[in-house]
């Protein structure tokens, strides 16, 4: 099942296009309010765009003069809210999809039970949704969407509200389940994209700003948001005299692409936080990139500290951080070896 | 209309006669009906009581009536005009007005003229209905100006106000006072005979039991019927 979608929803300032190949999983990333849920609603047929088309496997579902009702699309949507039917038991909620497809009660219950097993809440089968915790409800909703066995599966943040202990397991389940399905997956977690998606589409401000194979997009981001979600630092500027010239006068040198960009081309410089060294004063010595900035935040994790300075981040060891006496508000110098910086046009 | 296979003790055919009659005739006609059934084997009389005007509307619209007994000539004339009467109507009873007060007669009413007293809680029938029209005629004849606190739609409503003690006096038919028993005190006044309400009866066209309908009309006009009506307080036409 391949999906071809384009949609303009004027009221929400959303204008996106998306293609998903047969059996492909595409992750949609983007900040809050970017238009991710809107895109899924259009695909599912719950929202009629002002202009646009939805074509599944060559058959037009939404078009200027075409309209296929949601139930006839066989497109299942796991919305951001669990929205479990409050009057049905957990088991009946999950069995709802199969039963709507015409599966007999017994068989549908069987299927539902195995899906509940898959998401790890088989023991809650007889409960009413009102008696579930937030994370439990979320898992049941995931099971319900999967059980519907749709031609196209739309998942809107399936892992939100889940605890850290079940996330890897569920991700593992999803990986197996989604492998031979056509899926659009909205997520805020780069791990989901990395492990589950073949391709990534980044939406921002209602427009697609980036798309491509997952690792390519995430290792060579072209937009600040993508860099952020990929955990990379990004400096934007124009190419001048063999280096990136940032807006505020920062000059960044690095590994450059072949062919070289022309002077005045827009380029980005990307580097890992762990490649950044932090100093209180500009260091001398070997030619390095230095950026003077102000510490905004310190995030300890494992045995390191992530030093955030605006949009940039540096990872230093805990003792080093202590020695530098880092506190938010301190002026510091970030220094990056040119060999750790990738510069490419956007 | 008729229906067959009734649960009559004899097991024979049951013929049903449907009589539409004014509400004020309820008790008397039910009694007459019983007597009529006794006199006619296999006949069952069904009644539909209501305001004369309502009944006329229903019969005009095709209600399955065999006989119609009205509380006044005006409504009967409407039915005649509608061509729904099989035979000329015959007057079978009259009724006169009487004043009804609560049993203890708190306002000490003794004559019709007392009804114009200031502050008296008087209820009468609306001039649109027969008893109201009669009341108005009486008042006009006597030169009395009535200022009722309410002009009711039916005698029953007037009586209800009196029996509940809400009203000090009401003007109703003599038969109603008789029927109400101890609940009210009836006060007759000399001029009551001047304004008389006449009750006509007639068989209805298209009746499937036209002979029986004629029989019933005759029965009402006969001794048994008139006897029962007299006992209820109705006058002779």
């Amino acid at each position: 099942m391949s999906l071809e979608l384009s949609a303009r929803v004027i009221e929400r300032d959303v204008d996106v296009a998306l293609e998903v190949a047969d059996r492909e999983t595409v992750a949609v990333l983007g900040p809050n309010g970017a238009g991710k849920s809107t895109l899924l609603a259009v695909a599912a047929g719950l929202l009629r765009p002002d202009t646009g088309r939805v074509v599944l496997d060559g058959v037009e579902l939404t078009g200027p003069d075409v309209w296929v009702a949601p139930h006839a699309r066989r497109i299942a949507l796991l919305a951001q809210d669990p929205l479990l039917f409050p009057h049905l038991s957990v088991l009946d909620n999950v069995a709802f999809g199969p039963r709507s497809r015409g599966v007999r009660r017994r068989a549908a219950h069987e299927q539902a039970r195995s899906w509940l097993e898959e998401v790890g809440v088989a023991d809650l089968a007889v409960r009413r949704p009102g008696q579930l915790s937030g994370g439990q409800a979320q898992r049941v909703a995931v099971a319900r969407a999967l059980a519907a066995d749709p031609r196209l599966l739309l998942l809107d943040e399936p892992m939100a509200a889940l605890d850290v202990a079940v996330r890897p397991a569920l991700r593992q389940s999803l990986r197996r389940v989604l492998a031979d399905r056509t899926v659009v997956l909205v997520t805020h977690d780069v791990l989901d994209a990395l492990l589950l998606a073949d391709r990534v589409v980044v939406v921002d401000g209602g427009r697609v700003v980036e798309s491509g194979p997952t690792t390519e997009v995430l290792t060579r981001p072209r937009s600040p948001f993508t860099a952020r979600i990929a955990g990379l630092n990004m400096v934007r500027g124009v190419w001048r005299d063999g280096a990136l010239d940032g807006a505020d006068g920062t000059v960044v040198t690095g590994l450059t692409p072949d062919p070289l960009p022309a002077d005045g081309d827009r380029v980005v410089a990307v580097f890992r936080p762990s490649a950044v060294s932090v100093f209180r004063d500009p260091p001398g010595g070997s030619p390095r990139n230095t950026i003077t900035t102000t510490v905004t935040e310190l995030e300890p994790f494992a045995d390191q500290v992530r030093v955030r300075a605006g949009a940039l981040a540096a990872d230093v060891t805990t003792p080093a951080a202590a020695e530098l006496d880092l506190v938010p508000g301190l002026r510091v110098v970030f220094s990056i070896k040119a060999t750790e910086v990738a510069i490419y046009p956007t | 209309g008729s229906d067959s296979g009734g649960s009559d003790g004899s097991g024979g055919e049951t013929t049903t006669l449907t009589v539409y009659a004014a509400a004020s005739l309820t008790s008397s006609f039910e009694e007459i009906g019983t007597e009529f059934e006794a006199a006619h084997d296999g006949v069952r009389v069904k009644f539909s009581f209501g305001g004369s005007a309502d009944l006329v509307t229903q019969i005009t619209e095709g209600a399955p009536a065999d006989v119609f007994a009205s509380a006044d000539t005006t409504t009967m004339d409407q039915l005649v005009d509608a061509d729904r009467v099989a035979d000329d109507p015959v007057d079978f009873a009259t009724n006169t007005l009487e004043i009804a007060t609560p049993p203890d007669n708190p306002a000490e009413i003794t004559r019709f003229q007392d009804l114009s007293r200031k502050g008296l809680q008087l209820v009468v029938c609306a001039p649109e209905v027969p008893c109201g029209a009669a009341t108005r005629t009486t008042a006009d004849d006597l030169g009395v100006t009535l200022t009722p606190v309410s002009e009711e739609q039916s005698v029953t409503d007037v009586l209800a106000k009196v029996t509940s003690g809400e009203a000090d006096a009401g003007v109703v038919y003599a038969t109603d006072v008789t029927a109400a028993g101890d609940a009210v005190t009836g006060i007759t006044y000399p001029e009551s005979g001047d304004v008389v309400n006449t009750y006509p009866i007639a068989p209805v066209t298209d009746s499937e039991e036209s002979t029986l309908a004629d029989d019933f009309v005759d029965f009402v006009l006969g001794d048994t019927g008139q006897g029962i009506l007299r006992a209820a307080g109705f006058g002779q036409p």
Partner: protein, 263 residues
Amino acid sequence: MRTKQRQVGLPAWIFVPATLGAALVLLPLVGLVSRVEWGSFLELVTSESAMTALSLSLRTSVVATVLCVLLGVPMALVLARTSFRGQGLVRSLVLLPLVLPPVVGGIALLYTFGRRGLLGDELDALGIRIAFSTTAVVLAQTFVSLPFLVVSLEGSLRSAGARYEEVAASLGARPTTVFRRVTLPLVLPGLVSGAVLSFARALGEFGATITFAGSLEGSTRTLPLFIYNLRVVDPDAAVAMSLVLVAVAVLVIALARPGRSTW
């Protein structure tokens, strides 16, 4: 269970008007009951004509309620879940039997289904005579009760919203399935209270019935009509009989009310 208790309180002053309102409704009932002569009550209530009227009332009201549900649920759905030109007008018109004096409603029915009515000739050709039959009673009751079901159910449908229906559709449920398995169960409290209102209205219906169906023992004389007749002859008996009507209504409603829903 203690943990199930509601913990957000009501303003204290709210109990004052609530009690006043309850008093306004309950005091007259007390007044009524206080005047009943219990001695003759039983005899009267079990008289044959009373029982006939009661059973006719119950049968017709139940049928009318069923008709209201069958016709009213779709109407409420169409009003709540679609939008079309002139919908506002249709909605207002459907309200009309609410304000039409029942007697006039009965006249309107006569003008439509009566021998000389709009459909008179068509019905005559089919050999159907509706007016002054038990069918007419049911029709009159349905006519006056239908708006109650529609209005209260449309309110519930709108409050419930369509989000669950969208979810169900995206899970592949056809509209009929959505209706049966999602919409109906979700608005069940609203449907039950709408049906109760309709049933109550049908049971108490008087004006339209007497006009359109007449008042013949066994076929069209329902309990309210019986009571009306009784009142002419014996007002106290009529009051006693009304209490029977009330008791029956309460009983039926109590039996019809599913476990935990509103009514």
